[in-house]
């Protein structure tokens, strides 16, 4: 492995100072575009098991009703009803998954990102049952043979552990934006610090009416949607 | 009931005071070799009389007592012991391996009835063996000698001899310890060796050696001369006729008989052994067996076993000698513990081969006793079980309904032969009420009567009653739970020794031989209406009608 640049870790992180969030502008997100998905899965060596029950995915597109079931479906336009919504881990403020995990393999970082320790995970999938959004995937089989092109940007996982979107924490530490945000041709994804009132994401949320997935569950997601 | 035994209440109190632990006394801060040896009434056997030793040409005849300070050991006794030990280590792999292999795991510690009864730590089998092993290390293992206390070695002193005498006469060679030892170490073997060594310097037991001398001369332990022997048995014949109305007809020293029957002399002389003899006679008469009894080889038992291997062989030799002389086909042996240990494990090796005899076949059932095809000696229980299995006996188990029975697996038969099922099969066929004693006290885990291996002397009553405590305790259990009043055994010493043991611990429980019950149950041809068993006790349901 190449040497790690530790200069970015000179300061001990302050809990609660930063909270990363994402705003998805579904109006800009093209229905058949999967650039973000492709990029994310490639960079993170996510295996391609789509179409099977053993599917592993960090980010994907869902139907409007599927992604936002408790949002009102009455009298919506057909276009909205057929819109594809980008779905990924919400990195909840009150994540049920971290509460459920018996080994602290899933934990919430100082910067709001819900992260995982793949060496701790016992594969009990309690977190999968706990997540009300279906954001988690389990490695039902060995993922490595199913990675078409191995990338050296992120380690591979072994069979029997759960994985999910990590908001590209490995990129964030380098000061880079998440791969999905970086790869979006339409700039539909806005990523930023929710604790910074002057951040773009905060201004966008304030400026637009946004929706969240299942807000009634009290999880306080960090992903917002502009429908 | 004996001045040599403490009162039952006192002994119970002693047990009560030390429960739940087994040890008697406090030993913290003490090493086992510091624990003193104390001879008192009831815990030592009278030494052999000088004339007995002279008869047997054993060394160092003299008058002495265990309580004497000076045991008048012979000159160079240390050398005698050491040489004797070397010799036996050379001749017996068992002795050597047992000396070397013990890891002192303690599994055997609470398995010996003498330890359970006395609470004396040196009665733990591991400690009993250490009594010799500590000398063995000193004398034999050069490496261990360097670290004396570290390895538990010590010098051979008169106190060691006293200790040996004490504790190797508190081992009935029952082998229960070896059942639990992961290495199979058999303290009984070590006891045999130690007793042999002690005999080399004239430290011995009259109750063992006097019968040995008797047996050497007259053919039986009691010294019964031939005419007396016959008269005793004929007296039993009369008794059988009194009870059953049937006159049995045993023969003596008859050449040409098919089978030679050999049983311990206690069955001819003592209570309650004679009733078992009656059972034998009734059985043989019932099936019309062609047998004879020898006055020359009139002893099934072998107190030589408790003395030395040579003496064991010498006394045992008479069996084959007489069988050959009388021209019998095979030998049928009566109920005895140590007799059958000798017959099963030693006889063929010592005095065989017995080519002059034929492979045993039951004349009644045609069964070949293949397990005895070399020794050509069959156990009476195997013989009878075979008869019952083939429905050759007319039995009425109701005749033993006045008895509620349990069965004592005699140590030698249990752990020296492996005979568990045959006597139980017979017992279940001749009586209707049979209850096993607790599981950990029967079969291979059976407890000794506490008086075997020549420790049946009256002056040893204290230790006998303590040693028999575990067995008596097990009997008390079934007596309390199932109202058992009859203890059945197939050992002659047991019949003699369990009787006082039961009187001491379980009054009301009588001791029976297995074949006495067979005799009770046998429906004899031409018998009168029987109302009494062989002991002339009334049989339930068979009382005489008032009309008669």
């Amino acid at each position: 492995l190449e040497p790690t640049d530790t200069s970015n870790f000179t300061k001990k992180p302050t809990p609660g100072k930063v909270r990363w969030g994402m705003l998805v502008d579904t109006r800009k997100c093209l229905g058949n575009c999967t650039e973000c998905v492709v990029r994310c899965h490639h960079d993170h060596n996510v295996p391609d098991l789509s179409g099977t029950k053993n599917e592993v995915k960090w980010i994907w597109k869902s139907g409007y009703e599927e992604a936002l079931p408790t949002a009102s479906q009455q009298f919506q336009t057909d276009e909205v009803k057929h819109r594809k919504v980008l779905t990924l881990c919400n990195h909840c403020e009150e994540p049920p998954c971290t509460r459920a995990c018996p080994t602290e393999a899933t934990f919430k970082r100082w910067d709001g990102i819900v992260s995982m320790d793949y060496h701790r995970c016992i594969g009990c999938r309690f977190c999968m049952a706990a997540c009300p959004y279906g954001s988690r995937s389990f490695n039902w089989v060995d993922p490595r043979p199913h990675v078409a092109e191995l990338s050296n940007t992120y380690p591979t996982r072994m069979r029997g552990v759960v994985e999910k979107c990590n908001f590209c924490s490995e990129r964030l530490v380098k000061g880079e934006l998440p791969a999905c945000v970086d790869s979006c041709p339409q700039k539909a994804l806005i990523f930023g610090d929710l604790n910074d009132p002057n951040s773009e994401i905060r201004r966008m949320i304030a400026a637009n009416e946004t929706m969240q997935r299942k807000p009634e569950l009290g999880t306080l997601p960090s992903v917002f949607y502009i429908i | 009931m004996s001045k040599y035994a403490p009162k039952t209440e006192e002994l119970k109190k002693e047990f009560e005071e030390k429960k739940p632990r087994l040890l008697k006394g406090k030993f913290d801060g003490m090493d086992w070799w510091d624990i003193p040896v104390e001879f008192r009434d009831g815990n030592w056997c009278f030494p052999a009389k000088p004339e007995v030793l002279e008869d047997l040409h054993f060394p160092n005849p003299r008058k002495w007592a265990a309580t004497d300070k000076d045991w008048q050991l012979p000159a160079n006794w240390e050398k005698t012991i050491r040489d004797g030990m070397k010799d036996r280590l050379k001749r017996f792999r068992s002795f050597k391996v047992f000396m070397d292999s013990c890891v002192r795991c303690g599994a055997c510690a609470d398995k010996c009835h003498f330890f359970l009864g006395t609470g004396d730590p040196k009665n733990m089998p591991v400690m009993r063996a250490e009594l010799v092993r500590s000398i063995y290390r000193q004398d034999v293992n050069a490496f261990a000698r360097v670290l004396t206390k570290f390895s538990g070695s010590r010098k051979l002193t008169p106190e060691v001899i006293k200790e040996w005498h004490m504790y190797f006469n508190q081992c009935t060679e029952c082998r229960r310890c070896s059942v639990f030892c992961p290495m199979g170490i058999d303290t009984a073997e070590i006891t045999m060796m130690a007793r042999e060594l002690l005999n080399l310097i004239g430290v011995n037991n009259n109750w063992i050696l006097a019968p040995v001398a008797n047996c050497n001369r007259t053919g039986n332990h009691l010294g019964i001369e031939p005419h007396t022997f016959k008269q005793n048995i004929m007296s039993l014949v009369d008794d059988i006729e009194d009870v059953t109305g049937v006159k049995v007809n045993p023969t003596f020293n008859r050449k040409g008989a098919e089978i030679l029957f050999i049983t311990p002399s206690g069955d001819v002389f003592g209570d309650p052994g004679v009733y078992t003899m009656m059972g034998y006679l009734l059985l043989f008469h019932h099936i019309g067996l062609d047998y004879t009894i020898s006055t020359y080889a009139s002893e099934g038992g072998n107190f030589g076993t408790f003395t030395s291997n040579e003496m064991m062989k010498k006394l045992n030799a008479k069996m084959y000698h007489e069988a050959k002389r009388l021209g019998v086909k095979w030998i049928l042996g009566g109920e005895c513990g140590h007799m059958w240990r000798v017959v099963h494990q030693y006889m063929s090796t010592m005095n065989g081969p017995a080519d002059f005899l034929q492979e045993p076949v039951s004349p009644i059932t045609g069964t070949k006793f293949t397990n005895a095809k070399e020794t050509k000696m069959v156990h009476i229980a195997e013989f009878t079980a075979d008869l019952i299995k083939h429905n050759k006996l007319k039995l009425d188990p109701k005749r033993n309904d006045h008895l509620r029975t349990t069965f004592h697996d005699s140590c030698n038969v249990a752990r020296g032969m492996g005979m568990f099922e045959e006597p139980r099969y017979i017992l279940n066929k001749v009586c209707n009420t049979f209850h096993e004693m607790p599981e950990n006290t029967i079969r291979e885990q059976t407890f000794c009567c506490g008086s075997g291996s020549g420790l049946n002397a009256e002056e040893f009553m204290d230790i006998r009653m303590r040693g028999g405590f575990p067995r008596a305790n097990a009997v008390a259990h079934v007596k309390e739970k199932h109202k058992v009043d009859s203890l059945v055994t197939i050992c002659a010493i047991d019949r003699a020794s369990l009787t006082p043991l039961m009187r001491y611990w379980n009054p009301g429980v009588s001791v029976y031989g297995l074949h006495e019950l067979v005799g009770n149950a046998l429906i004899m041809e031409g018998e009168k209406k029987r109302t009494e068993d062989l002991r002339e006790d009334d049989m339930v349901g068979f009382e005489e009608d008032d009309d008669e």
Partner: protein, 384 residues
């Protein structure tokens, strides 16, 4: 006393051989699962728990039901249960063991199981479930073994044994409560997100577990000539009947809450189970069978003349156990995952490997139960 389990007749060894064969099958299947991953099961990202957790849930109830013997016997001195208390305790041991085996089978990384203890997470119900299940297993095993050992020796058990038994009583309630909280604490799983889940778990546990105990008494009487007594059986039948009634009642309250409130999220799972949803209804016949069988069984158990007849009693117990197994195992787990968080309905079918592992674990549990009961009966009926 373990040696008691190493002796037996032909029937006993035949049964043990059958169990060992099934265990062999299960071990082989598990090896395959270990090698290839949980992908060999029918579970996927949508139905991420399957038959393993279903058995676990059911067996936690069976384990807890031993308290229905222990509690009356030790706290209320119901002598009728004196002979079969140990049976209940050992059934609890066997069931708890199976619970843990099913959890191990369901784990992606069983080799990291110690992480639960090395990195304790009090906020996680799984953490507590591991604790209470292990504790319950050892409480019942140690206390049952100690009581049996004391009985074997003919002495009174040590005082700490009673303490353990008393501790095991609330502990029994706790294991199923914690199991219920496993489910009930998850937002978004509307079928489970109910306050009634814990009492419903307990009711169904006591109903099914007690019924299993009744069936066990019949089996022991037939096979080992060990009869717990009609009084004990009657009391158990009554307990099972009322627990069954409670279970049905709770199910009814679930239906009312969901359908009367007409909240779609709450209705969807029940619709999927009992009536089908979006064209998917593979479990509908099973759920209705479970409901009807449960009602009939409870009816029989509530009827004194019927429950006094052994044939009816056995049938009712079997029906009740099957009913609750379907309801608690299959229906509850699958129904909880459908619809998925993304409003999809996915059908779950266990694979042969999954079923083999399940059978193997059941066989291990039955083997342990057989051996423990063999020891217990040998001690209780010892001739000496």
């Amino acid at each position: 006393m373990i040696e008691k389990a190493l002796k037996g007749g032909r029937g006993y060894w035949t049964w043990v051989a059958i169990l060992l064969a099934v265990i062999g099958l299960g071990v082989t299947a598990y090896a395959r699962q270990m090698t290839l991953g949980l992908g060999v099961t029918g579970m996927g990202r949508d139905i991420s728990w399957g038959v393993y957790i279903a058995q676990f849930t059911f067996l936690v109830g069976v384990a807890a039901s031993a308290v229905m013997l222990v509690l009356p016997y030790y706290l209320h001195n119901q002598k009728a249960f004196s002979k079969i208390v140990i049976v209940g305790e050992f059934l609890a041991v066997s069931a708890a063991l199976m619970c843990m085996l099913f959890i191990l089978a369901d784990m992606g990384r069983p080799d990291r199981v110690l992480n639960v203890l090395l990195h304790p997470s009090p906020h996680s119900m799984v953490f507590w479930d591991v604790l209470v299940l292990n504790g319950y297993l050892f409480l019942n095993l140690i206390s049952g073994w100690a009581v049996l050992g004391a009985e074997r020796k003919g002495v009174k058990p040590a005082s700490w044994v009673k303490a353990l038994i008393y501790i095991s009583i609330p502990w029994a309630f706790s294991i199923h409560t914690v199991t219920a909280f496993l489910f009930a604490g998850l937002p978004g799983r509307h079928l489970w997100l109910t306050a009634v889940l814990a009492p419903r778990f307990l009711a169904s546990a006591f109903a099914a577990g007690t019924a299993i105990l009744i069936l066990l008494t019949f089996i022991l009487k037939r096979v080992a000539k060990f009869d717990a007594g009609p009084e004990a059986r009657t009391k158990l039948a009554v307990l099972s009947a009322y627990a069954g009634v409670a279970n049905l009642f709770f199910l009814g309250t679930e239906f009312f809450t969901a359908f009367y409130s007409n909240v779609p999220a709450h209705m969807h799972s029940l619709q999927y189970l009992y009536f089908g949803l979006d064209g998917h209804g593979p479990l509908v016949p099973y759920m209705w069978f479970s409901l009807i069988a449960g009602i009939i069984s409870v009816g029989v158990l509530l009827s004194p003349p019927l429950r006094r007849q052994n044939g009816w009693l056995i049938a009712a117990c079997i029906g009740l156990v099957v009913s609750i197994w379907i309801d608690k195992g299959v229906g509850l787990i699958i129904g909880g995952f459908n619809p998925t968080p993304l409003e999809a309905i996915v059908d779950y079918i266990p694979t042969f490997t999954e079923i083999s592992v399940t059978l193997g674990i059941w066989a291990i549990g039955l083997l342990v139960l057989t051996m423990l009961l063999k020891v217990a009966i040998a001690v209780k009926t010892q001739e000496a």
